[in-house]
Chain length 344, copies 2
């Protein structure tokens, strides 16, 4: 069941005069900021932008004119989540007589400079950004042009001032650990990838909590946190499995990392699940096809994109509000063939 | 190396008078057909449409006005090819300052009624249709509105009057068979799926040719051709493997069908590749992750979409011609762990 943190009360529309007065600038200066013209210091620009945003001020004439499409923006389409998110967005858009435009921003964990201007020129009905955050200037650009936007974030933890859809990372990590603990594992390795992603930290923290609740010691040398250029690399798995006293189970914070651990186990002749249990995270289609099929924590990617599309359509229809939506969809454990009780 | 069947000579623009005269109707009638107004018999409409098409006639005023986007249309986004095709189209579009709109038509092997009208209202720079064919009325609609379109067709064999991008299905089937024959297999099963897809037939024919060239008998009862609602079903694999004298190898005309055969082998305790070799078709990402990794015929899906995007952009820039492009990209065999010599 989704947990929803805020309702969305309406606010009256402000005049530019009121906004200028609130930011202690002239109407001319406020207008320059609104229309992105030069001659305003960065500090003043930021102060006016904030006042415009706070008041939900929109440019005159931007209320109705928009293209009948939602734009979904990925850093890169090479990510494994892309198709499920596109599927979700297309289904909801279609029900509202909208199409979905897919663009690639091309900058890791964020969007490229100039992106927001290009989007606002296209004037989509709304934007779904698959990323963790965007620069303040881009947020201002989209808000000033009345382009509603929502972040879908299967990897990180988005900025608090942007409506966003995520999933319950901490609970997911806990569910993975509890499954392994329930099978009898006590010595569990973790392949965690980059520590700068909040989602990764939440997943690992959920894992730690479950271990503590079961009164099991946590061996920090069994938790491999590194930024893997190639997520599927067998290297972290080899690091865990070549130890004298190797773990009997591994929790990987993504399916692709779990498949890297498969490769490591295969290279060392270690049988899954007889000699090693592995739990992944995401439930990509590949989890079903791996040999053996991968036990994993399911992120409802398609549903997340559906909720994002619904939210962005709702934001388009409503007056701007001072509150920000954050919706977290539930993760769930999918048990397949890669986990079993440890050998006695 | 791509084989390209035609060049594209230019044609002079026809007047509506000339078209009407050619179709033996009045200009008023020709205009009705052009503007999709009632009061014309179906036969006359078809004759005028054909004359308009043959002359590359475009509506006045439709030359320049189009949205800076390419539309890629899938019957369903649930297909396994979708993301690779989207990736290819987005990369090329981006290089031309275009975006890509993704829509779903929702009708098997073809497009839904009314689809072409909806597209021409959106006036994209061009359309990439992932399907085998479209109704003549839709072709006419897009041509009359000057929306260039190209078919990308990883599954079937498109109509001869539409520019299209495919891959070398017959050669692919031959390469799969030659690989198995080279390993020493002589009794090879085929899981072929629906026989109404030309691509399937071409792949199976390539297989047959390789068998004949090697002077091996072809046992037609080992070729399972059926339309599988669930491609991944283990059922055809079970049918082949539960026989008294079972084949030592299977060629499946898609990776997903090959993975269905994996399930069948797993259910019967048959080891891949020691007791059974399997070759797939497509080289989806999942082929790399299957256990064991799947030997398969690679369709260059991303490159096919790139060529489609380039072609549709070229069609937008050029005068209409009376010739039709057909580009077939080369398939190639990717050898992984699912194939080996048969047991002596």
């Amino acid at each position: 069941m989704p947990s929803k943190t805020t309702a969305a009360p309406k606010m009256p529309r402000a005049t530019l005069e009121a906004v200028a007065s609130e930011a202690s600038v002239s109407v001319a200066t406020a207008s320059k900021v609104l229309n992105d013209r030069p001659g305003v210091s960065p500090e003043t620009r930021e102060r006016v932008a904030e006042a415009l945003r706070r008041n939900g001020y929109r440019k005159r004439g931007t209320e109705r004119a928009y293209a009948p499409q939602i734009e979904i923006v990925f850093e890169s389409l090479d990510g494994e989540w892309a198709i499920e998110l596109i599927r979700g967005a297309v289904r909801v858009a279609r029900a509202h007589d909208l199409t979905v435009t897919v663009t690639e921003s091309g900058v890791r964990h964020s969007v490229a400079p100039g992106w927001a201007k290009a989007v606002s020129r296209r004037q989509p009905a709304g934007v779904i950004l698959v990323a963790s955050d965007m620069p303040p200037s881009d947020k201002f650009e989209l808000r000033a042009r009345n382009v509603p936007f929502v972040i879908v974030d299967p990897a990180g933890d988005p900025a608090p001032d942007v409506p966003s859809i995520g999933s319950t990372n901490w609970s997911g990590g806990m569910a993975a650990a509890n499954h392994l603990i329930g099978l009898g594992h006590t010595r569990i390795g973790v392949i965690a990838g980059s520590d700068d992603l909040m989602a990764t930290r939440a997943r690992v923290d959920g894992f730690r909590s479950a271990m503590r609740a079961a009164n099991l010691p946590i061996d920090d040398t069994l938790i491999i946190s590194k930024d893997l250029a190639m997520e599927a690399s067998p290297e972290p798995g080899l690091q865990l499995l070549e130890r004298a006293e190797r773990p009997t189970a591994i929790f990987a914070t993504s399916d692709i990392k779990a498949l890297g651990a498969y490769e490591a186990a295969r290279a060392l002749g270690i049988n899954i699940p007889d000699e090693l249990s592995i739990v992944g995270y995401d439930d990509l289609p590949v989890a079903h096809w791996a040999g053996p099929p991968l036990t994993t924590v399911r992120q409802p990617l398609r549903e997340m994109a559906q909720e994002a599309a619904k939210l962005v359509i709702r934001l388009r229809q409503e007056e701007p509000t001072s509150t920000v939506d954050r919706l977290e969809l539930m993760t769930s454990l999918v048990v397949r063939g890669s986990t079993a009780a440890p050998r006695a």
